[in-house]
Amino acid sequence: MPMSAAPRTAIAGTTSTGRRRGPTAIIMRKLFDRKLVLVGAAILIVVALAALLAPRITPYDPMAIKILDRLQSPRVTHWFGTDELGRDVFSRVIFGARYSLMIGAVVVLVSTFCGVLLGLAAGFFRRLDGPIMRVVDAMMSFPDILLAIALVAVLGASIANVIIALAIVYTPRVARVVRASTLVVRELLYIEAARALGVSTWRILFIHILHNISSPILVQATFIFAYAVLAEAGLSFLGVGVPPEWPTWGTMIASGQQFAHQAIWLVMFPGVAIVLSALSLQMVGDGFRDLLDPKLRKSL
């Protein structure tokens, strides 16, 4: 039996037919038993599918300008109305999902990667713990949006720089969670056994420890996805994020705000899209966290 599987088999179960179910299958089944998680996952899948299939499902080119059709209220031909340049708001909201979710997803990947490296190092190597965590503490004393604004101001406004800035902002959050989990797992018997057997430090870190702290990392990643979607919208709204020619939900609200008094749909629909995406991610994240919380697990 691989060493990494040792603590996990404790929560594996057996079905009524005698077939063994893996721990991941059990957690996923319990997770999707919760209505809140189901609803969240359903909304998330719809938004993700809309983003993936945007060119096929949008009735208009999101960039096509038709001045004669400007500021039309929602109607059969334009479900979400048109903007100040006559562009179809529905098509732009759907395409906006592509950019907003893509930025959120890349931020999650980068910040999780960097946070895992820092957190593992801080949690496993006692000498590195102090220096790394003091820097993490210092970075976490800046409000997220303020640090992101400052970084984008310095790096320049572009999609790549927004991703870099938000990844820097959220890396400490992941590092803290990973460090805390590593501190617990490091003391477990199977890690001691692995050391005694001469398993290399790298293998202990990236196979045995990382494998067993993946759940809290996943929960944190879900929340960071939601925060990143919200933060990107905030940065773009302030004019320091994604350049206005890219139809993200934030840039749409920013450009629509000066017409909001006569065309509320310009800010309403992109905003609802942000809320739905962030809400669905939080529903899934909350469900996952409750499942992993030993106090709350009993009640599931």
Partner: protein, 313 residues
């Protein structure tokens, strides 16, 4: 106690030193010459050289850092390039709306978050709990700038009940100026009540399951007394921690909300500085806000002593 205070203070100084290093080097991340970036494309070589000399940008980086740190220790945050006055003065001039906005928002957040969190915990698993927990989740998912725009359209533009934007005349009575903060405070308060609600609910659920609550009920104490006197008081510590976290969220939210409502606060100053690449202002604001956050968290730790006699340092 004295030893604890000394160690906490030393920890705070170390974190603030790291914050200062981060702030200094963040603004040096800019590709190219910072003086050229600050002055824009129209600047001549002579202008750039003069700015470099004025701000010591022609010195080696460690010298620049030590000089900057020395000035900081004298309370000098530098000189704003665009506003042509000290950053400290610019921040102080903009402090009033931000202070009142943050204060009112946190009061609203507590007034919503604590009672709703208590109700959700007391009626756990019922429709009330689900409604309040759903509200908390929704609050954490709403971008404050968007919520502000929607409320502004309804209550200021359509109904005309409240001022649309701005902070009134500088010479107007304080109450008139504060009227402009009603909508922004509601926006920030409602959005940030989510965290307090969640912390209150979780903390109350923990405390309501403890033995002393069962004892109080067995002794015939009314449910209201059990909840408000015995449970809530003991559940306050995590809620106060949430207040510290909420402060960071509020400052972040204030930056965006001030822009939506055209409030001349520190948030608005930071956004303007970013758009103009006025690095001394960005540096100063980052440092002051991070310092306030660290200080508030220290004060909150000390507040535990006053609230809970079981806490000893």
């Amino acid at each position: 106690m004295t030893r604890y205070l000394a160690s906490r203070f030393a920890g705070m100084v170390i974190v603030m030193l790291i914050v200062a290093v981060l702030v200094f080097f963040i603004t040096r991340l800019a590709p190219g010459d910072p003086a050229a970036v600050m002055l824009g494309e129209q600047a001549t070589a002579a202008d750039i050289a003069q700015l470099r000399a004025t701000y010591g940008l022609d010195q080696p980086l460690p010298v620049q850092f030590l000089y900057w740190l020395g000035e900081l220790s004298r309370g000098n945050l530098g000189q704003s390039i665009f506003l042509q006055r000290p950053v400290t003065q610019a921040l102080l001039e903009r402090a009033e709306p931000t202070f009142f906005l943050t204060l009112f928002s946190i009061v609203i957040a507590v007034l919503i978050g604590v009672p709703c969190g208590v109700a959700a915990a007391v009626w756990r698993g019922t429709a009330t709990d689900q409604a309040f927990s759903g509200f908390a989740m929704l609050g954490a998912s709403i971008p404050s700038f968007w919520f502000g725009l929607i409320l502004m359209q309804i209550f200021a533009v359509s109904l005309g009940w409240l001022p649309v934007a701005g902070y009134g005349d500088p010479g107007a009575p304080l109450l008139d100026r504060l009227q402009h903060l009603i909508l922004p405070s509601i926006v920030l308060g409602v959005v940030n009540s989510a965290l307090i609600l969640r912390f209150t609910r979780a903390s109350m659920l923990d405390v309501l399951g403890e033995d002393h609550i069962r004892t109080a009920r067995a002794k015939g104490a009314s449910e209201a007394r059990v909840v408000l006197h015995h449970a809530l008081r003991n559940a306050l510590i995590p809620v106060i921690t949430a207040l510290g976290l909420t402060f960071a969220l509020l400052i972040g939210g204030a930056i965006v909300t001030e822009t939506v409502f055209g409030l001349p606060g520190i948030g608005n100053l930071v956004v303007s500085a970013v758009l103009r690449r006025d690095y001394p202002v960005i540096q100063g604001a980052l440092l002051v806000i991070a310092g306030l956050y660290v200080l508030i968290n220290l004060l909150i730790d000390l507040l535990y002593l006053a609230i809970d006699p079981r806490v000893k340092y």
